[in-house]
Amino acid sequence: MILHPVDTLLSLVLLSILFSYGAGRVPILIKLLAFQGIVVSLVPLFTGHDMEGGSTVFTIITLAIRGIIIPLSIHLAIKKVAIQRELSAIVGYKASIICGLVLIVAATAISSHLNLAAVSNFRLLFPAAISLLVTGMFLLMARRNAIAMVIGYIMMENGIYLMGSTFSVRARHIVEFGILLDVLAGVMIMAIILQNIKQTFDDVDTAHLRTLKE
């Protein structure tokens, strides 16, 4: 089949995912995040489901929030916090990249097993969504830096959105907007907590955050 814009975008997303495994510094991660946000929110335009006016407007808003506001807020948080840019990793970067490759391949394999041709005819959609999810999880578990964890969370959300955005049966835009708001608010609160963490421990290393146990 001919090269479809969606698949092109998604391949780019996959690439960015691979980068985000290797990304050693917060700003890069944020840029990748922004890029993924934009792509993810663009996909519905091309998936060719019902395209009435409302949806385009909604797509714009999504793009604004996912692609701009959220990354920006994180960025500002860093600015305020002014931490050292290096990410301390639990899993080393080279190892991470290999993990990433493996995970992406696995994701593709899985999604090829699930016969979802009925649902969407974009081969890369599921691999991209799943690997976004997995990457988010990975960042959440493998990066000691709190900001990276937040970014991981957002990646997960992007993945879920991508996953959901392709089905014919979809919640109304108002509902999806609500979800978006929740995510946004969540990110905001996380940003605030980040600042507080910074103020209390003058560092955002989660190693400080394991005093409560048993």
């Binding site: 009925a118 999880m137 049966v169 919640a171 929740d182 609160i189 963490i197 005093t211 409560l212």
Partner: protein, 475 residues
């Protein structure tokens, strides 16, 4: 006009931020009263919602709503004098977010839409996070961080699960609204594989929020670090809201004829939670954490009962109601103890029976109730669950369940007796037990006591309606 019930506290909450302390306190209690009134009206005249697609009055929702507003009213009364005793610098924040929290939880109970439910539950997380951070200590900061990050991730899973459920409809080529009422209609036509996957994700997601092991990890930290009224709300109602989500999704599973699948998973998670609770109650040295783990235990019991089906589900719902009543009373009492001894550690308390007799009565009878002694209601619930388990032939599970309950009881009793009867180590200043700081507990316990023996028919009917929807019953 259902929405007003959660809009009112929402507005009130935002107002409080711009109010002086004293006015804020009055508004808190006032809103509590109004909310209670509204939900009673709602209970009587079951009206239809404006946004009927998203909100509806369901029996299970009404049950939780009634519990929520009753608890919130009493807790708000307690909170006022609690705030007087302990001067927080960020009091308006506290009261405001209490109200927002209330509104979000109310929204959970009223939402009848797969996605809206998710929105509401996520919203509860966001609204309650500031409550946990009230004390501004590093410990509370850590607790808040864990609460927000773990719950958000967990609930993201629930969102994914909801997406999968839509997918299951997609695969089966169905096109229906995402309201639970509509979903239960078409449930048996859905693609079972994706439905199961969706259930798994949603269970894990909302289970994280409900405090099912092994996703319970945030719960003890949050409950112990939050101010006692907030803990009471978290443990008494928030967990129920999460359970409500699982309940609703289980409804779909039941309609789809996958009740065995979901039931087994629920039972296993329930047992795991009870075991986890036992592990940490045995040698617990902070009483608030102990109460938190006991909440995990009770959530486990509820999940277990729900998984059993039949009379077990009835027992589970009874457990849910009584657990809310008793556990919140316990947390309020723990607030008194914290004020009285100025200490969270069990070994630094003691001789409660002499030093704060009123609180002792509330605390000890609360403990007895949680431990499953009549005349408080959890006894009935546990009885139904156990007999239900035997009825369903899960002898092994029943055995583990019973054994673990014994262990938990031993640990809990040991700690509570230390607190109540051991000679108190340090002679802290005498704590004045204000009536407004013991009566809420007494009222909660009395309610549980009355409900143990007599239930208004309307309440009973509602419970039966709720449980029959997921294959529960009295046989």
């Amino acid at each position: 006009m259902v929405e007003i019930v959660f809009l009112a506290p929402l507005i009130a909450g935002f107002l409080v931020f711009f109010m002086p302390k004293s006015l804020g306190r009055q508004l808190l209690v006032g809103t509590g009263a109004v909310h209670l009134l509204l939900s009673l009206i709602l209970w009587q005249t079951k009206p239809s919602a404006l946004l009927g697609e998203y909100f509806a009055v369901t029996p299970e929702g009404m049950l939780s709503l009634l519990v929520i507003s009753l608890l919130f009213f009493l807790i708000s009364i307690y909170t006022v004098s609690y705030l007087k005793e302990s001067n927080l610098q960020s009091e308006t924040m506290f009261t405001g977010f209490m109200l927002l929290f209330l509104s979000t939880m109310t929204m959970v109970t009223l939402s009848d839409h797969l996605m809206v439910l998710w929105i509401a539950i996520e919203a509860t997380t966001l609204a309650s996070a500031p409550l946990i951070y009230t004390y501004r200590s590093s410990a509370s900061l850590e607790a808040t961080w864990k609460y927000v990050i773990i719950c958000s991730v967990g609930i993201a899973m629930a969102l994914l699960g909801s997406v999968f459920i839509t997918l299951s409809m997609d695969v089966a080529g169905l096109d229906s609204a995402l309201s639970f009422s509509a979903l239960t209609q078409v449930a048996e036509k859905m693609d079972p594989l994706w439905l199961k996957v969706g259930f798994v994700f949603i269970l894990v997601g909302y289970g994280t929020k409900m405090g099912l092991a092994p996703m319970h990890t945030w719960l003890p930290d949050a409950h112990s670090e939050a101010p006692s009224p907030a803990s009471a709300l978290l443990s008494g109602v928030l967990l129920n809201c999460a359970y409500l989500g699982i309940f609703k999704i289980n409804k779909i599973m039941h309609a789809a004829g996958l009740a065995d699948f979901s039931g087994t998973i629920l039972m296993v998670f329930g047992l795991m939670s009870i075991l986890a609770a036992a592990t940490f109650i045995l040698k617990q040295n902070e009483y608030k954490r102990m109460l938190a783990y006991s909440s995990i235990e009770n959530m486990g019991i509820i999940a277990f009962g729900t998984g059993i089906g039949g009379i077990g589900i009835y027992g589970a719902v009874i457990c849910m109601i009584h657990h809310s009543l008793i556990k919140s009373s316990l947390f309020l009492s723990s607030g008194n103890i914290l004020l009285g001894y100025g200490n969270r550690l069990i070994e630094n308390t003691g001789d409660m029976v002499k030093r704060m007799p009123k609180t002792f009565v509330a605390f000890f009878s609360g403990f007895a109730g949680i431990a499953g002694f009549p005349p408080l209601g959890i006894f009935i619930g546990e009885l139904f669950i156990i007999v239900g388990a035997f009825r369903a032939g899960h002898y092994l599970f029943a055995g583990i369940f019973i054994f673990t309950l014994c262990v938990i009881f031993a640990g809990f009793a040991n700690q509570v007796m230390k607190m109540s009867f051991n000679s108190s180590s340090e002679q802290a200043g005498e704590f004045k037990e204000k009536a407004s700081m013991v009566w809420p507990q007494y009222i909660l316990l009395l309610t549980s006591l009355v409900l143990c023996f007599f239930m208004p028919d309307t309440l009973y009917q509602t419970i039966v309606d709720a449980v029959t929807a997921i294959g529960g019953g009295l046989k």
